[in-house]
């Protein structure tokens, strides 16, 4: 699969990406390295992974990170209740202690969580580790083995190696700096708001009924909003929502009235809305 194939494939999956993004995906496949994607909220970091999964028709396994996530939630956990029941059940049958112990630490009693699932899967998968910047340092360190060797070491079972190398995407909103060690193991990509031409393509791909003129006007206005130093500039998701609203209202041309009534789909702070309405020039 060449870079151009990826570009076309992603487009087929409804994700219009730049040549740079396609190159990074291509390299990640070739070099078998995870991709770390950073950028403002709502520029399509998560949907990048989803589109990739759709393109290569593989399963997507998603690990949503949050503060305080631990190995038990991300990697594996022993099925504690089942183990206890098993011990009790075997107590009556006079089994040797060693034997019981061996039994209860077998894969049968293992609950695999997303990371282990991704490693164990016999088909190639896309592993999405979402919002990695929310986890603790310990957890980040735990990921290192997985990201560089594609293997996981469980104290009781030994090392489990991936049967097929998963395509790994990590996303981060850059709320904190990630460790050097983690970054070193990944290819890095910064996704920014798309240039107007590409955003227009995105809008038209998502909303087939949208006229060329309206899309162009909408994109221009969103672009000028992003330059305004607002508290929360509109993301791609929000500009799609807005365009959908315009479509639903059967608007032909955006004027001040339409803008005022639909602004709440674009901006989510009252202060932002007021300020932008004051400053906004309506392009004709």
């Amino acid at each position: 699969m060449q870079v151009s194939d990826i570009l076309a494939g992603m487009q087929g999956a409804g994700y219009i990406c730049s040549l740079e993004t396609a190159t990074t995906i291509y390299l990640a496949r070739q070099l078998r390295k995870p991709v770390l994607v950073e950028g403002p909220a709502g520029v399509g970091k998560t949907s990048l992974a989803q589109a990739y999964a759709q393109m290569s028709s593989c399963q997507i396994i998603r690990l949503q990170c949050y503060e305080g996530i631990d190995e038990a939630r991300a990697l594996y956990e022993w099925n504690y209740k089942k183990q206890l029941l098993h011990i009790q059940a075997s107590a009556g049958r006079g089994k040797e202690v060693d034997e019981v112990e061996k039994e209860i630490f077998s894969p049968e009693f293992l609950l695999s969580r997303p990371l282990l699932q991704a490693i164990q899967s016999d088909q190639s998968v896309c592993l999405l580790i979402d919002e990695i910047d929310k986890v603790d340092f310990e957890f980040e360190a735990m990921l290192l083995e997985l990201l560089s060797e594609f293997q996981i070491t469980l104290p009781e079972l030994g090392t489990i190696k991936a049967q097929t190398i998963p395509f790994v995407v990590l996303t981060s909103n850059a709320t904190r700096e990630l460790s050097e060690a983690l970054k070193r193991r990944c290819l890095y990509m910064y996704l920014d708001y798309p240039e107007p031409a590409r955003e227009q393509m995105i809008l038209q791909a998502r909303l087939p009924g949208l006229s060329q003129l309206l899309a162009e006007q909408a994109v221009k206005m969103v672009d000028s909003l992003r330059k305004m130093n607002l508290r929360k500039p509109p993301s791609i998701a929000e500009s799609i929502d807005w365009a959908a609203a315009l479509l639903a209202l059967q608007v032909d041309v955006i004027d001040r009235e339409v803008l005022t009534s639909t602004m709440s789909t674009l901006l989510k702070h009252r202060e932002d809305i007021e300020r932008s309405l004051q400053r906004m020039e309506i392009p004709r």
């Binding site: 870079v3 730049s18 040549l19 740079e20 190159t23 990074t24 291509y26 390299l27 070739q30 070099l31 390295k33 991709v35 770390l36 950073e38 950028g39 503060e67 305080g68 504690y80 209740k81 206890l84 029941l85 009790q88 603790d136 340092f137 850059a174 709320t175 904190r176 700096e177 050097e180 970054k183 070193r184 990944c186 290819l187 890095y188 990509m189 910064y190 508290r231 202060e271």
Partner: protein, 379 residues
Amino acid sequence: MMFQEVLDGFVQELRSMGLDIGPSEAEDCYRALLQIDWTQEALFYQSLACTLVKDFEWLPIFREVFDRFFKQAPSWSPAQEEEEQHGSKLALPGFNQGKNQGPGKKPGQHPGQPSQRKASQRTPPGKKRNRDLFELDFYTATYQTPIEEIRRLESLVPLLGRKMASRMKIKRRKNQASRLDYRRTIRRSMNFGGTPLDLYNQHKVREKPVIFALCDISWSCLYFSYFSLAIVHLLETYFRQVRSFAFIDEADEITEVVKNTPINRLRQKVMFSADAATAGSYTNYGRALETFVTKYGKDLNRKSTVLIFGDARTNWFETGSGTLQDIHNQVKRVYWFNPEPRIQWANGDSNMEFYARYCHATFECGNLDQLADAIIKIV
């Protein structure tokens, strides 16, 4: 020119600009370049970028060095490219005019050429620049400091937020470690014939303090007040109840302003909106503390924590040590953050020595690092 030499040169140049690039990144870059078609600039650029750059703050610097290195060379012809890529194995795209003519031989284009390098080092901050700023002294910086300096400091506030967030996270996790609640676990296990199927942990009861932050916004604390206000703003992320006050010679509540103003405009906004700012231009700690107690004293109780950000320079006015003592007796904790070095605390009109008696802890916050550390210590 062997490709590897050029790549090394490129990496060296990036390093000299303050980018932190290790050998493994360079190796990745080399491997990446073997995979792609160099004739397309976007592909070539991105292969270098995604393997070498690991922080979006580096991207502008990278772009500049990239342009200087690869784009000033003469025409970019795919045919030659083809030949070189397959023929002599790994010549560099930008310098495809002569294989035996290294970039050093082209005047005006050599990346290491002194004049150019000098110019480029004035470009925006790499890591090291920021580091210096974090250690920049609030105390020595006065209102004579040029405005650009202040602007640069302001740009650091988001970084301060990030820094605090990551350290705060570690701290919070330590606090969260909970123990097994034996009693409840054993009790529950009775249902299952003494087998503890469900485990219960003890919940820690976390106290929710109400924070009262007082910021000196006078000239003498100009620099410091940018950050004390920013810190107060950041604290709101971590505590449910933060009330903020500004004073020069009278205390005035600015909670709403702090809540609704982005950090970079905070000081300006406070200066315009607070009553405190209009009254007079000399700090009067005595009156400030007095008015604070009369206006808001009824809200102070054993759950309150009072943070005071100021240099304790009384201008020989009433010191208000007694008032501070009253506050001290009413509330849970009083902390003082002073931008001056400890040595100065007993000098001249500084009343810090006496205030310190009625504080549970005092901190010397001469620079951003110290300020962030102090805040993390108390939460």
